[in-house]
């Protein structure tokens, strides 16, 4: 990211958040710095309440690294979300990132992981006890 930029918190997050029924699906599109990670965490915790979400899927495939800070932020996100009644599944951890995380002995406590979005949705279904239909119906009912 060359060139002058305003301080971290003011920059738009390169993250898209989809509301899929009872779930929030979060795709991170570029590398995020520390303040952006924190901003994302705050935003999602607020969103869980607003959308009455039961689950969050965070797709980290586009993140260049998952270092100690990113890992800690994800762990905190999962902890906080769980306190607000939502389970968190992290998907898309690349093989080389997994190697680096093991080398650093980083652990994603409270965080469930799955290979990709599809498996992540399946896992969320098991965790929340909602069938695919229920998850969607919940969403559509609220939309009325």
């Amino acid at each position: 990211m060359p060139g002058p930029e305003p301080p971290g918190a003011d920059r738009p997050l390169n993250v898209s958040i989809l509301t899929q029924g009872a779930y929030l699906i979060v795709s991170i599109h570029t590398a995020l710095d520390d303040s952006q990670m924190l901003q994302l965490r705050e935003h999602l915790i607020a969103q869980v309440g607003r959308q009455r979400s039961r689950g969050i899927i965070v797709d980290v495939a586009a993140l260049d690294v998952l270092d100690s800070f990113a890992t800690r932020t994800l762990t905190e996100l999962a902890e906080m979300a769980r306190l607000r009644g939502a389970e968190t599944v992290v998907v898309g951890i690349a093989p080389e990132i997994a190697v680096a995380m093991v080398r650093l002995s980083l652990q994603l406590n409270f965080v469930h992981t799955a290979l990709d979005l599809e498996e992540g949705l399946e896992l969320l279904g098991e965790l929340t006890g909602l069938s695919d239909r229920e998850a969607l119906v919940r969403g559509s009912r609220r939309a009325d």
Binding site: M1, R11, D33, I97, A100
Partner: protein
């Protein structure tokens, strides 16, 4: 002019007959005999060019009119030149008054800078640059070789640049180290810069960091070397640093796992600078070991408070802010070589290196199903991470 023809044709004769008449017309209007000659010739040239278009009996009046027109247009040209003289006069001596002033200032700065050089060096430079003496004849005078003279000249120029900038900025370097560091940067001498630890000095010395910016600007247009420098002061810089590190290592053919390990280590160390030291920088350098194996070295420097308990800080879980305490020990685990030098109140320098694992003959692999994690451990045993600490016991 017509005499040059050995055999004047009938056409030429007609033209030659016109000369006295044309000369009379022009001479009656213009005094300067040279201008008269010019105009007569110009008239004849035009008449000759128009010869085919003009009927024989109208040639004489055509010549007369042409001559008169030429005289008139000359007069108009002169008038215009006279009328515009004042405009031209201002433009000619210099592009603008400011430019002239700048040139004067520059030459006075340069003269002052030259004054600061030792006599011998100044004489050498002037002999070469002003009096155009080539390096060979200079070498003969001095019992030296042309190569040595050229090297000396480039050192003198580097020195001159430094003095020039110091005078321009009107500063006197605050420490004894400033001048050597600036000269090394000006000369682009990497070895000397490393010896002097120029980067650390620049971070701590405002004067030198201003001056060196101008010197580095100059070098930026010269062929680039492999060093990448990333200033670190805020969160976004951490991302930039790890991306630059990844790019540099990718050019050396590191695997994508190795690239991620390097990027992660950079991320951890760069974050420490933002958290503890406010600002610093990272230099990413491609290196080679004795066997020609390429590697990437990252030097992270800051002028922060230093690390009071280095030994503890290098252990897992030691954290002074509410982090995981994995910054230093984590980066150390990710890289082949790791070295911390810290001085309380002065700052911290972390130097870490990872060597590329060739999949070729010189680096036997453990098998087709090897994974990058386990093979790193083998290499690590040959090169135990080193650690130096200064001043952590005080």
């Amino acid at each position: 002019m017509t005499d040059t023809r050995s055999q004047p044709g009938p056409d030429d004769e007609v033209i030659v007959e016109l000369v006295p008449m044309v000369r009379k017309i022009v001479a009656s209007r213009i005094r300067d005999p040279e201008v008269v000659d010019d105009l007569v010739q110009e008239t004849l040239a035009r008449v000759m060019a128009a010869r085919s278009r003009v009927q024989g009996d109208t040639l004489e009046p055509y010549a007369a009119v042409t001559a008169r027109n030429l005289v008139a247009s000359l007069a108009r040209g002169n008038d215009r030149a006279r009328a515009k003289t004042h405009l031209l006069a201002d433009l000619e001596p210099s592009e603008s008054p400011a430019e002239d002033l700048l040139r004067q200032e520059e030459s006075s700065l340069l003269a002052q800078a030259l004054d600061r050089l030792p006599t011998e060096e100044r004489d050498l430079l002037l002999a070469h640059e002003v009096h155009d003496q080539d390096t060979r004849s200079l070498a003969e005078h001095r019992d030296s070789t042309p190569g040595a003279v050229a090297a000396q000249l480039s050192r003198v120029r580097a020195k001159l640049r430094v003095e020039y900038l110091l005078i321009q900025e009107q500063v006197e370097p605050p420490t004894d180290r400033c001048r050597p560091v600036l000269r090394a940067i000006s000369a682009g001498d990497r070895r000397r810069q490393r010896e002097l630890d120029a980067g650390a000095h620049l971070l701590g010395c405002d004067c030198c960091s201003t001056i060196s910016a101008a010197l580095l600007d100059r070098r930026a247009s010269a062929p680039r070397d492999d060093d990448v420098r990333v200033p670190i002061s805020r969160d976004a810089d951490v991302v930039t640093a790890r991306q630059r590190g990844r790019e540099a290592a990718a050019r050396l053919g590191f695997s994508s796992t190795e690239l991620t390990l390097i990027a992660t280590a950079i991320s951890e160390i760069a974050r420490n600078i933002v958290r503890f030291a406010d600002h610093g920088d990272m230099v990413i350098r491609t290196v080679q070991d004795d066997r020609g194996r390429p590697g990437v070295t990252i030097v992270a420097r800051d002028v922060g408070p230093g690390i009071p308990q280095l030994r503890e800080a290098l252990q897992d879980g030691y954290s002074t802010y509410d982090g995981l305490g994995l910054g230093l020990p984590g980066a150390r685990r990710l890289m082949d070589q790791f070295d911390v030098v810290t001085e309380l109140g002065k700052g911290t320098t972390v130097t870490m290196t990872t060597w590329a694992r060739r999949t070729g003959a010189d680096q036997p692999t453990t098998g087709p199903g090897r994974d990058t994690g386990s093979r790193d451990t083998g290499t690590r045993a040959d090169q135990p991470p080193t650690r130096r600490s200064r001043g952590d016991d005080t």
